[in-house]
Amino acid sequence: MIARPKHQRLVLVLLALAAVLGAALLAMWGLRDRAAYFYTPADVAAGKAQPRTAIRLGGMVERGSVLRDPDGITTRFVVDDGEARVPVLFRGIVPDLFQEGSGVVAEGQLAPGGTFVADNILAKHDERYMPPQLGNQAAEQRAAKTLQR
C-alpha cells in the first residue's frame, strides 16, 4: 500500500517530534542533579557539597534562629529543610523578605567547622499571594501556636 505523501509527512513529523521530545526529556533527566539551583542542608549532611567551594545553600530559615551581632552587620541563622540543619554566618544587608520561617538561598562556602559562610543572601518566596489581613491571620495563628509550645 502506498501512503499518500501528506500522510507520510504527518507520520514523519510526529515521529521526529516524539524523538526530539524524548531526547530533550532524557537530557533534562540527566541534568536533574546538576541543574539544581542550590544544595539543601540534607545534601550538605550527605557530604555532596565540597567545603571551600562556592555553592548555594537553600532551605527555610529556622524559627527563632536569627541572631544579629552587636556590630549591626553580622547575621547568624540556621537553614533547615526538615532533614538537616546548617548554621549560616552572613555579613551584609539581608533582603526585605528575609524572615524566620520563610525560604532563603545563601551564596557562599562551607567553612571546615560546618558553618556556611555566606557572601550573599537571596529571599525565596512561595507561590501563594494574599491580602495582608489573611496573611496576618496566618502569621497570628503561627505565633499563637509558638506561644502555646
Partner: protein, 238 residues
C-alpha cells in the same frame, strides 16, 4: 483551516477581525491593569510589588503560547503545505519575542525587591531566556529564507524543534530546585487569593487579543507586500 488557504478569503475575515480584536484587547487590558493597579489589595508579604504580576504573568503566557502557535504553523507548513503557514510563523515570531522580553524584564524588576537579585541562573529564568533567543533565531532564519525565495521549510523545522523548550520552561520549577517559586495557577485551582487574582484573567485575555491583532496585522502587511513585489516584477518585465 484549508478554507483559509485562499488569501482573499483569509483577508475577508482578517480585516474586520483585526479591528474587533484591537478594541476588545484594549478594553480588557485597561480593565485588568486598572483593576490590578488600583483596586486589589497589596500582598501580605511583598506589599505593592505584587502588582507586577498583572503584566508579568500574561507576558509569560503569551511568550510561550506564541511559540506553541509557531509550532502549530510549522506542522501545518510541513505536512499540509498550507500557503499561509509560513506567513503566520513570520508574523507570530516578533510578537512572541516582544512578550518574552517583557516577561524577562518585568521578572527582573520584580526579582530585585523580592529575592534581592536582578538575575539568577536558575532553571526557570534560564529556560525563559533560551526561549527569547530561540525567537531571535527564528526571526533571522525565517527572514533569510523568505529573501532567498524559500517556502519556509527550514524555519518550520526550527519552530518544531524549538517547541521542546516549552515543557522544559513549564516543568523547570518542578524538576529542579529553583529560586523562582512553583506555579500559582493550575488545573485544580489557584494559590492566589481571589481578591488579588480577579484582574489577572482580564489582563491575560486582553494581552492575548492584542497579540492576535498584531499577528493579523503583520500577516496582512506581508500579503500586501507580496502582491506589491509581484506587481513590480510584472511591471519590470513589460
Amino acid at each position: 483551516m484549508h478554507r483559509l488557504a485562499n488569501p482573499a478569503r483569509f483577508l475577508w475575515i482578517a480585516r474586520p477581525a483585526t479591528s474587533w480584536l484591537l478594541v476588545i484587547g484594549l478594553l480588557l487590558t485597561a480593565a485588568g491593569l486598572i483593576g490590578g493597579l488600583a483596586f486589589t489589595p497589596p500582598d501580605y508579604l511583598q506589599g505593592e510589588t505584587v502588582r507586577i504580576l498583572y503584566v508579568h504573568v500574561p507576558s509569560a503566557w503569551l511568550g510561550m503560547a506564541g511559540w506553541a502557535a509557531i509550532a502549530a504553523a510549522s506542522v501545518s507548513q510541513l505536512v499540509w503545505r498550507h500557503p499561509l503557514a509560513a506567513v503566520a510563523g513570520r508574523a507570530i515570531a516578533p510578537a512572541g519575542a516582544t512578550f518574552a522580553a517583557v516577561c524577562l524584564l518585568t521578572g527582573s524588576i520584580w526579582g530585585r525587591p523580592t529575592w534581592g537579585a536582578w538575575w539568577e541562573w536558575d532553571g526557570r529564568l534560564t529556560s525563559m531566556l533560551v526561549l527569547f533567543f530561540l525567537y531571535l533565531g527564528y526571526i533571522a532564519l525565517a527572514a533569510a529564507e523568505r529573501e532567498r525565495g524559500g517556502e519556509g521549510r527550514l524555519a518550520a523545522l526550527f519552530g518544531l524543534v524549538g517547541a521542546v523548550n516549552l515543557p522544559i520552561i513549564h516543568y523547570s520549577v518542578l524538576w529542579w530546585r529553583t529560586l523562582h517559586q512553583p506555579q500559582s495557577i493550575g488545573l485544580t485551582g489557584s494559590s492566589i487569593d481571589a481578591s488579588i487574582l480577579w484582574p489577572l484573567p482580564l489582563a491575560a485575555l486582553g494581552f492575548t487579543a492584542l497579540f492576535a491583532a498584531a499577528v493579523l496585522m503583520r500577516m496582512r502587511a506581508e500579503l500586501a507586500q507580496t502582491r506589491v513585489e509581484a506587481r513590480m516584477r510584472r511591471a519590470a518585465a513589460e
